[in-house]
Amino acid sequence: MKPQDLLFILIILALLWRRDPKNFVISGLVCLVFAIPLFQFWVFFTAERLIGYAAGFLLIAILLTLLKMMFKK
């Protein structure tokens, strides 16, 4: 496991404490935005990692949103 992965897990845990799906969406979008210049300047390793993190954040956002919709009913 790389240090970036640990940071990713820590951020997830911090965001899960708030349990707001929008925070996860914003985190995912930020990862995608930061990946753009990294790909442009061929910093592939970190850029590819950011794509994976973005997908992780977005998946959690979707699952939390679904949970919220479920319990709202």
Partner: protein
């Protein structure tokens, strides 16, 4: 919110003009060709008009069972019938049956998606825009895959939306099923269920793999709906839900496709195992996993724009704005409207599509390999890029929704005099962005079908020469068959590399030139060996580039083979005759005289003269135990002979006829009857239901 009608109309005119720029060949009067595109020559159209439902296909290699691939048979038959009855040539047929339906379905899909998320209003035309002008669609069309794959791909949103609406009306939500409308409700549900079955059958006809992808998307939505709606008190509603959502539509599909499903199941045909390890091994999946996660999530086809097999280009970061726009839609969900479930669903679909499209690549590529080996039907996806379909369908809803939401937000902060300009401005910016992404298509830099090509004169001469021989003969193409080379029932074409399973040029030439090979070729009814002119630079490759020296090596090596005689007159197509090549039916015993007649690849009448009991008649098609022969009432089973041919032992002495047939073909007529009756029944029920509703 609606943008005004003028903007809506202008948008569609723009899509039409962009189509004219990117696909000018559709509006030309030449046969389209390129990549895997099936060139609709008159010979091919004649072949499919008579053999659309043949369970044995013999125009490639030594033939193979095709019952599991007959799903496209009805469409092939329609094209063949249109060509024979209406005297339409291939130029008209390909446009009427492939290209026009493709664009019509693309336009219809946006209406369907609008029904689902009405807030996007006339932004829905962007769905068509995204569906038509993304790199996956362009690579698909450039690669010549419009005929089955392209049509199955483009109808996916229409079928998905119909299934979603069926699921929404299936009664899981009790408030949608008040008791006093019970009977009428069930009739509407049955009608929707039957329509979904018909649409799903249509997609299966075009391509089973995309139907599987659509079904996966439907299952995901069903699971979401079940998780959201089912409680202890309404769990009994699961039964009608499963009945109307899955059992009836899939049952209808099964009945309509009986003509190929019945023989496939009855005769235990496994199409994937027939295709071999290059299709059903995990090594093949790993090889074909060209897209990385950053490609798949940003809808960037890994081979964009050169479309050279195996050549993957670097990630283009400008494509990352697409997932940013798509997933931003999640920020605009307030949890107040029921349509917002669709946004969450499509966002999930997009992520799943992106994950699967990268195949065996990181992260967690092992999951795809596990699914390939263990999930039923997943073995069809050696090429993971087909899963891009899920994302494209998802982005075509999410992106218009994001733009609509941004515009609504922006309007609240803008002066009223400028509000009318906001929507057109945003749409224009997005359209310009997409045009920048696909600029190689706009500036004519794509290859394959996008490049104007016509059959070279030398190929026309070669095809005429081959077709001028009435007797049966095969042609062996070194190392692979070229797309312009003719192949018919009596003149099948074989790729030497596939035939000998040797892909190294030096080894292949050594094999072909050896003395033993002469007998193999003679016994295989191969009359000509052809070193083709590589008009597109895709056959004689060194390091993925056309190598003229490699082509010359093939030619000069065959020139030195003493038992081959060169026939000149075909330009850079080098043709060598194999002397004393045998016929389609022959015998190791010289005393027998054999004649035969056939109208179809699955049935031959063989005339035996001076035959003796126990003598062998060889039928040089790939051995398959389902080939049988009948003399009077005696059935003779095929025995494998030589290099994998069929053979039949004569049951008696004398002069008589022997019928040689492929057994599964007997079930095609019965299957077609079931399919036609089922179709009539479905339409009859729909008609009655419609009348009763009124």
């Amino acid at each position: 919110m609606n943008i005004n009608n003028r903007t809506y109309l202008l948008s569609f005119i723009f899509i039409f003009i962009l189509s004219l720029i990117i696909f000018p060949f559709i509006f030309s009067n030449r046969l389209i060709s390129g990549g895997d595109y099936t060139i609709l020559t008159s010979t091919y159209l004649q072949y499919i008009s008579h053999n659309a439902f043949s369970t044995w296909i013999d125009i490639y290699n030594f033939g193979q069972s095709s019952s599991a691939f007959l799903n496209y048979g009805p469409y092939n038959w329609l094209m063949g019938a249109a060509s024979q009855l209406l005297h339409w040539n291939g130029i008209i047929i390909e446009r009427i049956f492939w290209w026009m339906p493709f664009f019509i379905f693309a336009f219809i899909s946006h209406f369907e998606l609008r029904r689902l998320v009405p807030q996007i209003g006339t932004f829905g035309f962007l769905s068509t825009f995204i569906f038509l002008f993304n790199t996956y669609t362009l690579m698909l069309l450039g690669g010549g895959q419009i005929s089955g794959v392209g049509l199955a791909y483009i109808v996916m949103p229409i079928i998905l939306v119909n299934f979603i609406q069926l699921i929404n009306h299936s009664g899981l939500d009790q408030s949608e099923n008040p008791k006093k409308l019970d009977v009428l409700f069930k009739k509407i549900l049955l009608r929707k269920s039957l329509i979904c079955g018909l649409l799903f059958s249509l997609q299966i006809m075009f391509d089973i793999r995309f139907a599987y992808i659509t079904l996966a998307a439907v299952v995901i939505y069903s699971l979401l709906k079940v998780i959201m709606k089912v409680r202890k008190e309404n769990v009994h509603l699961l039964i009608p839900f499963i009945l109307y959502t899955f059992i009836i539509p899939l049952g209808v599909t099964g009945l309509l496709h009986s003509f190929w499903i019945v023989p496939t199941i009855l005769f235990h045909q496994n199409p994937i195992s027939q295709l071999g390890a290059s299709f059903n091994s995990t090594q093949a999946v790993q090889f074909f996993s060209f897209a990385k996660f950053e490609n798949s999530i940003s809808l960037l086809h890994p081979n964009w724009p050169q479309n050279i097999f195996g050549e993957v280009s670097f990630m283009r970061p400008q494509f990352l704005l697409l997932p940013i726009l798509a997933f931003s839609s999640l920020l605009f969900i307030k949890g107040k409207r029921k349509e917002e479930l669709y946004i969450v669903y499509f966002a999930l679909l997009a992520l799943i599509g992106a994950f699967l499209s990268k195949g065996a690549n990181d992260p967690f590529g092992g999951i795809y390999l596990w699914m390939f080996e263990h999930v039923p039907g997943f073995v069809m996806f050696r090429d993971p890029t087909k899963w891009y379909t899920l994302q494209i369908a998802a982005y075509s809803v999410l992106i218009p929704f994001t733009l609509y939401s941004i515009i609504e937000l922006a309007k609240n902060h803008i002066r009223s005099s400028f509000r009318k300009l906001v929507a057109p401005l945003f749409i224009m910016l997005f359209v310009v962005y997409i045009c920048v992404l696909i600029s190689p298509a706009i500036f004519g830099r794509l290859t394959g079908t996008f490049v104007s090509q016509s059959m070279p004169q030398d190929y026309q001469k070669l095809n005429t020469f081959i077709l001028s021989h009435d007797a049966y003969s095969r042609t062996l193409w070194m190392p692979f068959k070229q797309k312009y080379g003719v192949y018919t029932l009596t003149h099948p074409a074989i790729s030497a590399s596939e035939y000998f399973q040797i892909y190294n040029p030096k080894d292949l030439l050594h094999k072909v030139a050896s003395r033993d090979t002469q007998k193999i070729l003679q016994d295989s009814s191969i009359h000509y060996i052809i070193v083709p002119e590589d008009t597109e630079g895709t056959i004689f490759l060194s390091d993925r580039k056309f190598d003229k020296d490699l082509y010359k090596t093939y030619y000069s090596s065959l020139e030195k083979v003493t038992w081959l005689k060169e026939i000149k007159g075909f330009g850079n197509n080098k043709v060598f005759q194999v002397s004393n090549a045998k016929d389609h039916f022959w015998s190791p015993n010289n005393t027998i005289h054999i004649g035969y007649a056939s109208q179809q690849p699955t049935n031959y009448t063989v005339f035996i003269s001076h035959g003796s009991k126990g003598q062998r008649v060889v039928f040089s098609e790939a051995f398959n135990p389902l080939w049988q022969a009948r003399v009077d009432t005696t059935v003779i089973h095929s025995q494998e002979f030589g290099r994998g041919y069929n053979s039949f032992i004569l049951p008696k002495d004398g002069t008589y006829t022997m019928e040689v047939y492929y057994k599964p073909q007997e079930w095609i007529a019965k299957g077609i009857m079931i399919s036609l009756l089922s179709l009539s029944l479905v339409f009859g029920i729909l008609f009655i239901l419609k009348k009763k509703e009124h």
